[in-house]
């Protein structure tokens, strides 16, 4: 049985302009000790789906799922108190903005110790000892001196290390890292990523790594799930995904990787993820897809099988060719030099 199993998770926000489906029937599993990457551009519902799992969404969010179980516990319908026994203990999360994610009024030592106190009931001396251990574990030099530091005295990279130490305090079985390096300097990004992967191995925990960076995926993950506009559009082991992407969106993300670029300009997918007001009918990717047909615009695609990476597409790609497409050759030629 996988550690984490989510089936058809849907999150709807009540906004002043009506309801908005930020996550649309997303399914996801993660085994013990596995690294799962969730990729997709900004606005794809990556954060919202994981916040829903953690129970951290505001009250305007309505969360439904056919299944949402963690370590054998059904998370749906848990009371706040029951959920708080899991969240922060067995399931922890770190965020994109480490600097603003730490409370400016409390010391590093206090903020890490809090989880130890609440979940493990450690006394002051034990907390201090364990906190020093944790700071050491995440590679913070002179951990004892850091206990009394306030967040504004730390750099972004240091703050993220502290966040990681805090998340690992109770030896969680699952760590969710939501774009943990996006806000950091490029040189620091690699360090933090390496740290996460090392810790994941050492501690044997599962890691859900949210990112919009395919490069990060290639370096770290075992399995990848691609999300677009709130939907899961493809899922594959990392090698397969890079060799043979089945969804046109995945293919476009890969084509946009700097090292795969043929021209000097950094390529990117034209257009943006549709928000609340510009959701197209039919396939949500159709306004930006190279292979769009009438059928794509009119009919919502079905999910393909495992062979085609569970792609949510009418014409899943196989070795770069859209299967069942009415005019594959014309597209393939056009593909050489995208507009």
């Amino acid at each position: 049985m996988p550690l984490l199993e989510i089936e058809n998770l849907t999150v709807e926000f009540a906004t002043v302009n009506g309801r908005f489906k930020a996550v649309d029937e997303v399914s996801l599993t993660c085994d013990r000790g596995e690294i799962l990457a969730i990729v997709g551009e900004s606005g794809s519902g990556k954060s919202v789906s994981m916040l829903a799992l953690m129970g951290l969404l505001p009250w305007t969010a309505k969360v439904t799922a056919d299944r949402m179980s963690f370590d054998g516990t059904d998370l749906r319908g848990l009371s706040g108190r029951q959920r708080r026994r899991i969240v922060g203990k067995n399931m922890a999360m770190i965020f994109q903005e480490p600097m603003s994610s730490l409370n400016p009024c409390f010391t590093v030592g206090f903020q890490i110790g809090e989880a130890l106190k609440v979940h493990l009931g450690l006394d002051r001396a034990e907390r201090r000892k364990r906190t020093i251990e944790l700071l050491d574990l995440v590679g913070i030099p002179a951990p004892e001196a850091r206990l009394k530091a306030f967040p504004h005295q730390l750099s972004g990279g240091m703050s993220q290390r502290v966040m990681i130490a805090m998340a690992l305090a109770c030896k969680p079985k699952l760590l969710i890292a939501d774009e943990p390096t996006t806000a950091l300097d490029v040189t620091i990004q690699a360090q933090i990523l390496d740290l996460l992967v090392d810790l994941q191995r050492e501690q044997g925990m599962a890691l859900v790594l949210i990112t919009h960076d395919m490069g990060v995926v290639a370096e770290t993950a075992e399995r990848v799930q691609v999300q677009y506009a709130g939907q899961k559009v493809e899922e594959q082991p990392v090698a397969g995904l890079f060799d043979d992407p089945h969804h046109p969106y995945t293919a476009a993300l890969l084509a946009a990787l700097p090292e795969r670029a043929t021209s000097r300009r950094l390529p990117s997918i034209p257009g943006v993820v549709p928000g609340q007001f510009d959701r197209p009918s039919g396939c949500l990717f159709s306004p930006r897809c190279r292979y769009t047909t009438e059928r794509c615009r009119e009919r919502v695609p079905h999910r393909q099988g495992a062979m085609a990476g569970f792609a949510l597409c009418h014409y899943p790609l196989v070795q770069g060719r859209p299967i069942g497409h009415p005019a594959p050759n014309r597209i393939a030629n056009a593909a050489e030099e995208p507009a």
Binding site: L56, F95, S101, E114
Partner: protein
């Protein structure tokens, strides 16, 4: 932090000079001659008038009088009140504890009710408790002090007969002032019922004086909490699995208090202004009532001295607030 405080202290100098100027000219701009007022209905002979004017220095040009006043102030001399013939300094310290007691009671009342009310309103944003707190605060804020005091007196003193209407303690009790705080002195005196009487006398003036600060603090707490509750670190606190009490009462409130403390500090000025009216309504023998009486007697020395002392108190409070602000906000504490 030290530099921060030093800057604050230096800023007080121009403020202080401004206050002396205002106090000096304000009372002189009011029509009415102090010597004639002092003489009252008996009148005064021109010779005696001239003699008094010379003795009080009124015959000298204004700017000379001002510099004499400033010079005396700097050497710690507030002069002697015309009307009571007592040193202004003594008058002030005899009456100040009464005002301080009332103001402290009012600010404690405002803080103890205002902060929880603001927190509840923020947590229950848009729901019934929020509307209740916000509309009550609006009413409290816009209610004229005089009218509000009368209303309370009619209800609690008139109909219900729960509270007395004037003074600090019932005339049945007498004991020498030790601290000047009636609550403490009445306890020290050991007289039965004295403390209760002092408390009863304090209740209505406290509510009247504390209402506006209460409304302001509740509103400020609510808006500060709303802002803080949306911060990333609140999400982190919840992600740790902390209880709502710890998240709201610990992580959020601690940050929200930073602007609230500034507001409380600013309310001290408002409070002293309100004390003047409140003390007059409730015949509370404090600085406020003394100032009103002195102004009506054109007691130049008392008004000049009293206003400056009040200003000094406000400055001290504001400095204390700045210090407190630094203590609660590590970003300021570590600033060089």
């Amino acid at each position: 932090m030290l530099a921060f405080l030093l800057r604050r202290v230096l800023l007080l100098i121009p403020t202080f000079i401004g206050v002396t100027l205002a106090a000096f000219f304000f009372i002189r701009l009011l029509p009415g001659d102090p010597i004639l007022l002092l003489a009252g209905e008996r009148g005064i002979t021109p010779e005696r008038y001239a003699e008094l004017a010379t003795r009080l220095g009124f015959d000298r040009p204004l700017y000379e009088q001002y510099f004499a006043y400033l010079g005396n102030l700097l050497s710690g001399d507030l002069g002697v009140s015309f009307s009571t013939k007592r040193p202004v300094w003594d008058e002030f310290f005899t009456l100040f504890p009464a005002t301080l007691e009332l103001s402290l009671a009012a600010i404690i009342f405002a803080v103890v009710l205002g902060i929880p009310a603001g927190v509840i309103a923020a947590v229950k944003r848009g729901k019934a408790p929020d509307h209740l707190v916000m509309s009550t605060a609006l009413v409290g804020y816009s209610m004229p002090i005089f009218w509000w005091a009368l209303l309370l007196i009619i209800v609690f003193s008139g109909w219900l007969q729960w509270t007395p209407v004037s003074g600090r303690i019932s005339l049945l009790y007498f004991f020498p002032p030790v601290t000047g705080f009636m609550l403490i002195d009445s306890l020290i005196s050991g007289q039965r019922g004295a403390f209760n009487s002092a408390v009863q006398h304090l209740i209505l003036p406290t509510i009247v004086l504390g209402t506006i600060p209460l409304a302001v603090i509740a509103r400020q707490t609510r808006s500060a909490m709303l802002e803080v509750l949306g911060e990333d670190y609140i999400r982190t606190a919840r992600a740790k699995g902390l209880s709502p009490l710890r998240v709201v009462g610990g992580h959020a409130l601690r940050n929200a208090l930073i602007p609230v403390i500034t507001t409380i500090g600013l309310q001290v000025g408002v409070l002293l202004a309100g004390a003047i009216l409140t003390e007059t309504i409730f015949s509370w023998p404090g600085i406020g009532k003394w100032m009103i009486d002195s102004i009506s007697r054109r007691d130049y020395q008392a008004v000049q001295g009293g206003l400056v002392m009040i200003a000094i108190v406000v400055m001290i409070v504001n400095l204390t607030v700045d210090l407190l602000y630094g203590l609660i906000n590590p970003r300021i504490r570590h600033r060089r």
